[in-house]
């Protein structure tokens, strides 16, 4: 069984034979919720009990043969959809180009296309993970140190918005 213990479902054992069954109050309360449908977690919530305590009680009842394990609920894992990695949107390029223009003038848009080509990347579908690389390459085209820092600072804010 690979499910988490709290997803397990118990039912009353079909084979249990006894004239007198003696249960302590806690075991009785747990057993009253065993119906072949409720998971350990659901029983815990209904009783307001710690799942670990409920599991221990059910474990003891199981050992006595009073209950048996029916199965487990299939837990659907929270898996990210497969597919291409997240890409950078047009708003990012617009802002980067605007900031680069402040550093190098009206040819900024051409520099962006040039660097994308040098990276063997396309504007449409540039992976988020390569955005910082593009920004750094562009920043090196700014000769003035202070302007380069200004561009990088603005670009870093845009990069943070991507995540």
């Amino acid at each position: 069984m690979t499910s988490a213990p709290s997803e397990v479902i118990f039912k009353l054992s079909d084979n249990y034979v006894a004239e007198n069954v003696q249960l302590d109050p806690d075991s009785f309360r747990v057993l009253s919720f065993v119906n072949g449908l409720n998971t350990v977690e659901e029983i815990s919530e209904s009783l307001g009990e710690d799942p670990v305590n409920v599991w221990q009680i059910l474990g003891a009842l199981h050992q006595r043969g009073i209950v048996e394990i029916l199965g487990a609920v299939d837990v659907v894992p929270n898996v990210a959809p497969s597919g291409p990695p997240p890409a950078v949107g047009e708003a990012f390029f617009a802002r980067i180009t605007q900031e680069l223009t402040r550093g190098i003038g009206p040819l900024a848009a051409f520099f962006v296309e040039d660097e994308l080509a040098a990276m063997s990347a396309k504007r449409d579908g540039l992976p988020r993970e390569r955005a910082a690389e593009l920004v750094e390459r562009l920043s090196l085209s700014i000769q003035d140190d202070a302007k380069r820092v200004q561009f990088q600072q603005a670009a870093l804010e845009e990069l943070r918005r991507l995540y």
């Binding site: 910082a132 690389e133 920004v135 750094e136 920043s139 820092v149 990088q152 870093l156």
Partner: protein, 161 residues
């Protein structure tokens, strides 16, 4: 969780210069730690004395060998490396060292330098740019640079009082 270590009062650092230094250190080291993959960062003066640090307390044992006195050793070594280039008329702006377990980025800041330790898979472009931006104010503060030069000229590392 990271632990920020700032300069304590000493013979070399006290009063307004100490306050200014610590304000810059806090700003610089906190900015660097916003980068994913960065584990620790240190600032040294050009004498190799550690001025401040931001250390990831949950980092593994290898990382922890750079705490305390050990960080002074590599600070001194890196400071000497930068000085060797400077003496030959080459201003080494930054250098990047990659090890199997970690990466090391060193950035000259005039009369001090910052060392950033990160995981090997960290985004180096992001590290370089963030450090460049964060270091700009540190480098540009003329009074701070004068204080750093004065303290670094002392013959031995300045210990806390």
């Amino acid at each position: 969780m990271t632990k920020l270590l700032l300069q304590e009062p000493s013979r070399g650092w006290k009063g307004a210069p100490l306050t200014k230094l610590n304000a810059h250190l806090a700003d610089l080291l906190s900015s660097i730690h916003r980068i994913g993959g960065v584990t620790s960062s240190f600032v040294f003066d050009n004498n190799g004395s550690r001025l401040g640090a931001n250390v990831d307390e949950s980092a593994n044992v290898w990382q922890w060998t750079f705490r305390g006195d050990a960080s002074r050793e590599f600070g001194s070594g890196l400071g000497q490396m930068l000085a060797a280039f400077r003496v030959r008329g080459v201003r080494l702006r930054d250098m990047q060292l990659t090890f199997p377990e970690a990466g090391l980025f060193v950035r000259d800041m005039g009369n001090a330098f910052v060392v950033v330790m990160c995981r090997p898979e960290a985004d180096w472009s992001l590290i370089r740019m963030t450090v460049n931006v964060a270091a700009a104010a540190f480098e540009a503060d003329g009074e701070l640079q004068k204080s750093l030069a004065a303290v670094a000229a002392w013959p031995s590392p300045v210990e806390p009082e």
